[in-house]
């Protein structure tokens, strides 16, 4: 069975949009962060779909390779991001981004 790349791309577009909406409307830092991960993974899906459409061509490999890099970078972002969120939770007892806003002007 062969799934056309257009279907995969549509799914990836929907996931990306969900991620963007999540970042914009959610107020919990961890949920915002999850939405960002969703955006990155929707891009991975798009890479794979395009790589598949290009398939026998050697350039398709660049899409596969990119996905691995995105996964690795997302993991390192998680490490830094969660450490930050934990540090903030310790001092504020909350990770609501609306409560972390004293800087204004």
């Amino acid at each position: 069975m062969n799934i056309p790349p257009a279907y995969v791309l549509t799914l990836s577009g929907i996931l990306f949009a969900l991620g963007v909406i999540g970042v914009l409307i959610r107020r919990n830092a961890i949920v915002i962060f999850m939405s960002i991960e969703l955006m990155l993974n929707s891009a991975n899906l798009a890479f794979i779909a395009f790589a598949r459409a290009l398939a026998p061509a050697q350039e398709a490999l660049r899409g596969h390779v990119f996905v691995f890099f995105v996964i690795a970078v997302a993991a390192s972002e998680v490490a830094v991001g969660l450490a930050l969120i934990v540090a903030i939770f310790r001092s504020k007892e909350s990770i609501d981004v609306d409560e972390v806003s004293s800087l204004r002007g």
Binding site: M39, L40, F66, I85, L103
Partner: protein, 483 residues
């Protein structure tokens, strides 16, 4: 792949490798003598500078086009390394004063610098993405360096969430461009667009999303909301490095991607970049007027300056002007770096241990108490406004000229008018320093003073005799590799 490929990325290898070694060496350095780590970090940067200079004038592709070595990359790498040396010198005393001195500071700074070095010589969107992240992730940690101070926490969280959000756009944009052109190599993209083997709609949306992602990094309107809060909350020495280094890194990627890889799609991105440039200049300068905190004021000023540099992109859409536009942008980046490092240096000298002394009012009486420091600050403010005889004037002059050559007269007019508006808030600092009475409490630390002296000298010297810098920039070529 041969040994010459490794020579091409030698500055990057030195900085990243040295940072990793220092991470271990730092364990044996006692907590009250972290100056040793700072000194060692500077040694590594000097070695990297030597590596960049030794291959000046060489143009080649390495690792199958993943890495490009040309005048553009060498020039920017020199700028980044210079910024790194000054940033370390500025941080040393400041960290002690704020009691947040830890060896990791210098190591994270080196890692971030290695991302910038990689960005300058990226020849493939994979490398661009990696470099953006390598540049940003250590900066998120640096912004949080004064934790548990609430300001630093907030700054780091905002920077992290919005930075990661921007990366999402960047990656998705790269995915769409990959889908459209069938490659991620910049040289391959040029060929694909020329032979019209692309899907225009994907290319349009993709390049737009890359513009959004990198627009966040360089703080261009309308993606600038995080800038004032992050710049204000982060430790000032970090802000200084962030405002100069991260912005220059973002522009390195913007110039490389849009001018050298997507000139065939200029019809698509030209109007977008034109409006971003105009809006950024206007909003950055207008919002800066009402600021009373010097860090916020300089943050809006850095937004405004991103707008000026952004003008090089729409100008470069006219092929005949493109090489000059790149040179003007590079010249402006140097101008911006020298002047801003200096201005942030003065802010560092004025900041008190607990973090006050950051209101513009606190500068009253500085002209009497520390004439040399006030003179340096006045010079930086004049340079940011773009008044001769400072390097800021030269940078604006060169840039506006290029924009007019590209027949974008209205854009140049927006630039001139907003520069006039900016005079109001820059000159206010000078007025406060010289015309008001007050007893400011100022630090006098040898390293910090010398960085202020060097940048003030550079601001003045290149303002009168820009010939040396112009000569160096005239040898810079970005586009030859693809012709």
């Amino acid at each position: 792949m041969d040994w010459q490929d490794f020579l091409s990325v030698l500055p990057f290898i030195i900085v990243a490798g040295w940072a990793t070694i220092l991470l271990l060496v730092d364990l044996w350095i006692p907590a009250n003598r972290k100056g040793i780590t700072a000194g060692l970090a500077v040694l590594g940067l000097i070695a990297a500078i030597a590596a960049v200079i030794s291959r000046f004038g060489i143009e080649r592709e390495a690792f199958d086009g993943m890495i490009i070595v040309d005048g553009f990359s060498s020039f920017l790498q020199l700028l980044f390394l210079g910024v790194g040396v000054i940033a370390i010198a500025q941080a040393y005393d400041y960290l002690r004063r704020r009691d947040i001195e830890r060896g990791e500071y210098y190591i994270l700074l080196l890692y971030s610098l290695s991302g910038m070095l990689l960005m300058a010589s990226a020849g493939d969107l994979i490398v661009v993405f990696l470099a953006v992240e390598l540049l940003s992730i250590p900066l998120y940690v640096l912004a949080a360096f004064a934790i548990p101070k609430a300001d630093s926490e907030e700054s780091a969280l905002k920077y992290f969430l919005l930075g990661a959000f921007a990366s999402g756009f960047l990656v998705y944009g790269i995915a769409l461009v990959f889908g459209s052109t069938g490659t991620t190599a910049l040289s391959g993209m040029v060929a694909a667009i020329e032979s019209a083997e692309t899907t225009p709609i994907l290319l349009l949306v993709g390049s737009g999303m890359i513009l959004v992602g990198l627009g966040f990094k360089v703080a261009a309107v309308p993606f600038h909301m995080w800038t004032p809060d992050v710049y204000q909350g982060a430790p000032t020495s970090v802000t200084s490095f962030m405002a100069v280094g991260a912005k220059a890194g973002g522009f390195a990627a913007l110039l490389r991607i849009f001018i050298s890889a997507l000139p065939g799609a200029a019809v698509m991105w030209m109007p977008l970049t034109m409006w971003i440039a105009a809006l950024t200049m206007a909003w950055g300068n207008i919002a800066a007027i009402s600021q009373t905190n010097i860090k916020r004021m300089l943050a809006y000023s850095s937004i405004a300056h991103a707008g000026y540099i952004f003008m090089a992109l729409p100008a470069a859409a006219t092929p005949e002007v493109a090489p000059e536009a790149v040179r003007a942008a590079l010249f402006y980046l140097v101008t911006y770096a020298i002047t801003n490092l200096g201005a942030w240096g003065v802010v560092l000298a004025m900041e008190k241990a607990e973090g006050s002394g950051l209101e513009i009012e606190d500068y009253s009486g500085l002209g009497k108490k520390r004439p040399a420091l006030a003179l340096a600050m006045a010079l930086f403010m004049l340079s940011l406004t773009g008044i001769p005889p400072t390097v800021g004037f030269m940078g604006k002059f060169y840039l506006f000229q290029v924009v007019i050559d590209a027949n974008l007269i209205w854009l140049a007019l927006v630039g001139v008018v907003t520069s006039l508006i900016s005079a109001y808030y820059y000159l206010r600092v000078i007025v406060v320093m010289y015309m008001r009475d007050g007893e400011p409490e100022v630090r006098s630390e040898a390293l910090l003073n010398s960085t202020i002296f060097i940048t003030a000298f550079g601001t003045f010297f290149f303002g009168i005799l820009p010939g040396f810098l112009l000569k160096m920039i005239n040898q810079v070529s970005l586009l030859d590799l693809f012709r």
